[in-house]
């Protein structure tokens, strides 16, 4: 079966033909499999945001192809529009896109654009609000009366309500407190399990990426520089650091331990794995 999203030799040049021309993506081959949790990491300006805006057709490639379920995304206007609903995109700081009088109406904006029946819209709005932990009585409030974290949830619910097959999030936890960000990440995981959707998450938190994702793509200098599971990626600590990235703190600790002569395997990236290695048989302790 073809991957749900695949890019072939994708290139994008901003401002072609002006003095401000610059390359953002340079022959990127990238894929998203059904139901997987994919992490994208890379320093600022490495092309992550440009890449994800291609995946639902907001940006048109300068050259190269994007295949959705094996079919060319830009084959027709109808297909492009349908894809917008199949590939949900949550931008960075999505709370700035809220505009309706009530939270309910704002979440319903996407489903309404899909042309669904009122009953179906109602079901989806309530379900999406449930996923992100917006209580029933908040639905009739104005979104502008909510706190920053709540606004973010409403905005994410607005995309979840379209029940996309792929949910793409650009730094969904930027600027949130640790508890709020942990909750939102859990909400996203819940949605994935309930709908068997694929998640693509751009993040600067190596810990989150290591803990949640099945696979990681590292963007560097307009290329997809590395690809693999968390343990494969974080085994190349030197390379990551040279790209302006980092490894999870626990991995750094283990690298240092080995430098100091201890016999440990530095391909760990969560506290649980570290426990298993250092104190085998006592995982349940913490």
């Amino acid at each position: 079966m073809a991957p749900i999203i695949e890019t072939r030799q994708l290139c994008h040049v901003y401002g072609a033909g002006t003095p401000f021309e610059h390359i953002a993506l340079d022959h990127v081959d990238f894929r998203v499999e059904r139901g997987e949790f994919l992490g994208i990491i890379g320093h600022t300006g490495s092309g992550k945001s440009t890449l994800i805006q291609h995946l639902n057709g907001l940006l048109k490639p300068t050259s190269g192809q994007i295949l959705i379920d094996g079919e060319d995304l830009h084959q027709s206007k109808e297909f492009l529009r349908k894809t917008r609903f199949r590939v949900g995109l949550v931008f960075q700081y999505p709370e700035y896109q809220l505009f309706e009088e009530t939270v309910y109406k704002d979440i319903a904006f996407g489903p309404r654009n899909m042309g669904l029946s009122d009953r179906e819209i109602d079901r989806r709005v309530r379900e999406a609000a449930g996923f992100v932990g917006i209580p029933e009585d908040a639905l009739q409030k104005s979104p502008f009366d909510l706190s920053g974290g709540q606004k973010r949830r409403v905005a994410i619910a607005g995309v979840i309500a379209m029940e996309p097959e792929v949910l793409i999030l650009d730094e969904p936890t930027a600027g949130l407190d640790p508890r709020g960000s942990a909750e939102i990440l859990q909400n996203i995981e819940d949605f994935r399990k309930a709908h068997n959707a694929a998640i693509v998450m751009v993040s600067h938190s190596m810990e989150d990426v290591a803990r949640l994702t099945d696979r990681i793509v590292v963007m560097n200098d307009c290329h997809a520089a590395m690809e693999g599971t968390a343990s494969e990626i974080f085994a190349h600590a030197d390379q990551l650091i040279s790209m302006g990235l980092d490894v999870p703190q626990i991995t750094r600790l283990f690298l240092r331990l080995r430098e100091l002569g201890m016999d440990v395997d530095p391909s760990v990236y969560t506290v649980e794995q570290a426990m298993r290695q250092l104190l085998p048989g006592r995982e349940g302790v913490c």
Partner: protein, 267 residues
Amino acid sequence: MLKDVTLGQFFPGNTVVHKLDPRTKLLMVILYIAALFTAKAFVSYGLVFLFLAVSVFLSKIRVSALFKGLKPLMIIIILTAFINLFYSKGEPLVQFWIITITKEGLYNAFFMVARIVMLIAGTFLLTYTTSPIALTDGLELLMNPLKKIKVPVHELSMMMCIALRFIPTLIEETDKIMSAQKARGADFESGNLLQRAKALLPILVPLFISSFSRADDLATAMECRCYQGGIGRTRMKQLTMAGRDWVTLSIGLLLLAAVIVLRVFAL
């Protein structure tokens, strides 16, 4: 589509035109416009055009960039041409059905179009080669004498400076909000006029809200740095008129004088 907005855009460069004092450039634009509106015949239009062409050449701004600025005004230009072409009285050249094209009409249409195009090209050359900050600094200094009659010159130029500064930010913001709403299936390109106007709401509401909060933040930031208007403020970059500025101004005055002479003697 929003990337095409060229208003207030600045193409950095290192040419003579870029290096001129902003005051010189502002005065030159005024002289140029005066000359353009005084011109009445081929010779004087030719002179003004020559001046424009030399300035564009020296500034190394591409002609295509100037034409891009003209695009949004195409309708006005075409309309002007048509009205002048068909509604000028005089010696008929072509006549069929109810349409009469006169020799005077042809002249008028040509000159009006030339005038508008050159007017816009000249002013765009100013904003293309002068950074917004330099431009408002120049304006403030030029308007300084007006302070005597209690015109809040500094405040006006500060407002203009802020407005110009935020044009690109607002464009970027609009682009972002548009993308976000498009990702939720918003459709800005189809439907009738009313539907399209309604489709703008999801962009305008967030844009207004973020503009207000941005203005608030900016005001706070300015107060934190003890901004209190123009009194006692000094500049990091003092503007000084160099030899090239006086030469340029002389050329501008000569151009205007020549066009006036040509008009008086009806050449």
